[in-house]
């Protein structure tokens, strides 16, 4: 049984919700990313999502675009991110999910990507530009390697698409809370609730909600209707602010603690 599934089962047994922080790997350096992941885990996160930087991230708003740019300028590659995960695995068993645009996977080689990811200790991958109609071959390879491919659903997804996506998704389903890019303003929780209920009716998989959640109170509201809450841009902003390393780690820790408390 995979780490993602195990984490959600354990949380469910305790009637708790997952907090899933997102950070960009290599922003500002891979060494700092390693320290951040460990700090985020200590502060109570349940799963960590690691962004793989891409030059043209069409699903991301300015905050994560900036983080990707900084990471690329620091010379981050997918190979190095796998090495980082490998190193992290000697110190933590927290589920790790990569958020990776499809061209990075293609350039690395789909099969090679699945092998290297699992070998390093990656549990799942979210590919924001690979809707359910595309990438069937990649998902098959991932399944053989026991790498969860987590599909996204959106407010615009029709019932038919919800049905197709939950069938193809593994680990959990990522519900994009709004029509927009990462870091936008959250819309009404009632609208999210309706769609999350629809997804849950179609599937046994846990549903995590992301995009636009930037405060403990928003996280709490979303946690009351979903199995997990993803926070990205608000956290990436803290990391982007120039400060002493220890100050950044402290702020990140406080941010994660506050949000974990809110979703519990």
């Amino acid at each position: 049984m995979g780490r993602i599934h195990l984490t959600f089962s354990q949380l469910r047994a305790k009637n708790q919700k997952a907090l899933i922080p997102y950070i960009m790997a290599g922003d500002p350096s891979l060494e700092m990313t390693e320290a951040l992941v460990l700090e985020i885990e200590r502060a109570g996160a349940d799963i960590v999502e690691l962004g793989v930087p891409f030059s043209d991230p069409i699903a991301d708003g300015p905050v994560i675009q900036g983080a990707a740019q900084r990471s690329l300028q620091a010379g981050t590659s997918l190979q190095q991110i796998f090495r980082l995960v490998q190193s992290l695995r000697t110190r933590t068993q927290i589920p790790l999910v990569l958020m990776c645009y499809y061209n990075s996977i293609l350039a690395y080689g789909e099969k090679r990507f699945c092998h290297a990811a699992v070998e390093a200790g990656v549990d799942g991958v979210i590919v924001p530009d690979l809707p359910v109609e595309e990438g069937a071959g990649f998902r098959k390879m991932a399944r053989i390697s026991a790498l969860d491919v987590i599909l996204l659903l959106a407010p615009t997804s029709t019932a038919e698409r919800v049905g197709k996506a939950v069938k193809a998704s593994q680990g959990f389903v990522y519900y994009v809370s709004l029509t927009g890019v990462t870091g936008a303003q959250l819309v009404q929780v009632a609208a999210i609730e309706k769609k999350v209920r629809e997804i849950r009716q179609a599937s046994q998989l846990p549903v995590a909600v992301g995009f636009g959640i930037s405060s403990p109170s928003e996280a709490a509201a979303v946690a009351s209707i979903a199995d997990g809450v993803i926070v990205g841009s608000a956290l990436v902003k803290i990391i982007a602010k120039p400060a002493e390393r220890s100050a950044v780690l402290n702020r990140v820790s406080a941010f994660v603690r506050d949000h974990k408390q809110a979703v519990s």
């Binding site: 891409f54 030059s55 043209d56 991230p57 069409i58 699903a59 708003g61 675009q65 740019q69 690329l72 590659s77 997918l78 499809y102 061209n103 990075s104 996977i105 293609l106 350039a107 690395y108 924001p128 530009d129 690979l130 809707p131 109609e133 595309e134 599909l151 996204l152 659903l153 959106a154 407010p155 615009t156 997804s157 029709t158 698409r161 996506a165 994009v176 029509t179 927009g180 890019v181 936008a184």
Partner: protein
């Protein structure tokens, strides 16, 4: 040739729909709307009427007698898309998509633009149909195509400056996709070339196919035969497919000319078939310029309209089948061709179209006098006057 794309938007292995989930239902709606419109005689009649009375179609097929004599080989005809309203072929597509926009009941359009020709063509139809309009344009392109920025603003469009990445067309497309993702329910994205997710490569090609249909008719009338070769520049490649598609099953050679920039042996060019490999950018699988990690490379061309890292997926398909021969022209070759046509025919081509002419300069003298070449003169050069003058150290 088989009919492409298939129902999944594939041209062989190329094309497809690699976009965030949020956009997929809108692409499905567009696909449905287009399929219905295509079968609807009223839609076709309306489009035809606008193309005739508003755009000024059919555009002439002009025998460039002086250019032919100068080069001393094949007879050269120019398909005069530069004479379309707004000065380029782009309006053939924007008019069609504006009609689709109103058919879907949407009141706002957005677009990306490189050279500004597509942006102007979108701003124009938005004015004519009373649609709200935002055009995304890289700040580098805004500088080198300043005239078109002013034109768009005069037409009532908001020009949104894009200052990320290479600050050119690639980044303008990314921003347009982000805007569309955010406002997908009220907005239609008028994509300007045979690029992006399905059904755009198909729709844009079909709206541009009028170029080739007219050319074929005109050629039969004035020469009584098909041309031996067709030449067009290829950025995304909509003017090229517009001209080529009517001749796909004929015995006609086709040549697509990419931007060679400082030379394809340098890093500074936009020649995807010379220096690229297969990947996914902006929703489609195609040849693109990328590094070993799949990061998109910065491109260079003197022509803003050709300065893009990916080529339309249908071109990748014809490239592999060897149905179309792809070559490139450098900045210098394009600038020389710009001068040549201006001086001996009194026609100032867009720098994009000058790339196609640069190939004709090399190619035509190698053919005998009874052969006929058609060049797509996709746009006029007025927008480039300031840029060319600056390159030569003059001010306008």
């Amino acid at each position: 040739m088989n009919w492409v794309p298939n129902s999944k938007g594939r041209f062989g292995v190329y094309g497809g729909r690699y976009v965030p989930e949020t956009l997929v239902p809108a692409l499905e709606e567009l696909e449905r709307t287009y399929a219905e419109a295509k079968r609807d005689p009223a839609f076709r009649n309306t489009l035809r009427a606008y193309l005739n009375q508003y755009v000024g179609r059919p555009t002439p097929l002009y025998f460039a007698k002086r250019l032919t004599e100068y080069l001393g080989g094949a007879k050269i005809y120019l398909k005069r898309e530069d004479l379309c309203h707004t000065g380029a072929h782009k309006i053939n597509n924007t008019l069609g998509q504006a009609l689709l926009t109103t058919r879907m009941g949407k009141r706002r359009v957005i677009a990306e633009t490189g050279a500004g020709q597509h942006g102007v063509a979108v701003a124009t139809v938005a004015a004519m149909f009373g649609l709200e309009c935002d055009v995304y344009m890289g700040t580098e392109d805004m500088e080198r195509q300043a005239l078109n920025v002013v034109r768009m603003r005069l037409l009532g469009a908001r020009v949104q400056a894009v200052d990320t990445g290479s600050r050119t067309l690639k980044d303008a497309i990314s921003e347009s996709l982000r805007d569309w993702t955010t406002h997908v329910e009220s907005t239609h994205y008028i994509l300007g070339s045979v690029l992006g997710p399905h059904p755009y490569p198909m729709i844009v090609r079909d709206f541009q196919a009028v170029i080739g249909r007219e050319t074929k008719r005109q050629m039969m009338k004035c020469e009584g035969m098909l041309p031996h070769a067709l030449v067009a520049c290829v950025g995304g490649g909509s003017n090229a497919l517009g001209l080529f598609s009517a001749f796909m099953n004929d015995d006609v050679e086709m040549i697509g000319v990419e931007a060679g920039g400082f030379g394809v042996e340098t890093e500074k060019h936009a020649s995807r078939f010379a220096g690229g490999s297969v990947g996914v950018l902006h929703g489609t699988m195609t040849y693109l310029l990328q590094d070993d990690d799949g990061q998109i490379r910065l491109t260079h061309s003197v022509s803003a309209g050709l300065d893009y890292a990916a080529v339309g997926p249908e071109h990748s398909y014809y490239h592999d089948l060897k149905r179309v021969r792809y070559t490139s022209a450098t900045d210098d070759e394009a600038l020389s061709a710009f001068d040549l046509l201006t001086r001996i025919e009194g026609i100032m081509p867009a720098l994009e179209s000058a790339h196609a002419l640069a190939e004709v300069v090399k190619f035509a003298p190698r053919l005998s006098a009874e052969k006929v070449i058609v060049v797509n003169l996709s746009g006029r050069g007025d927008k480039d006057v300031d840029h060319v003058a600056q390159l030569r150290g003059n001010q306008v």
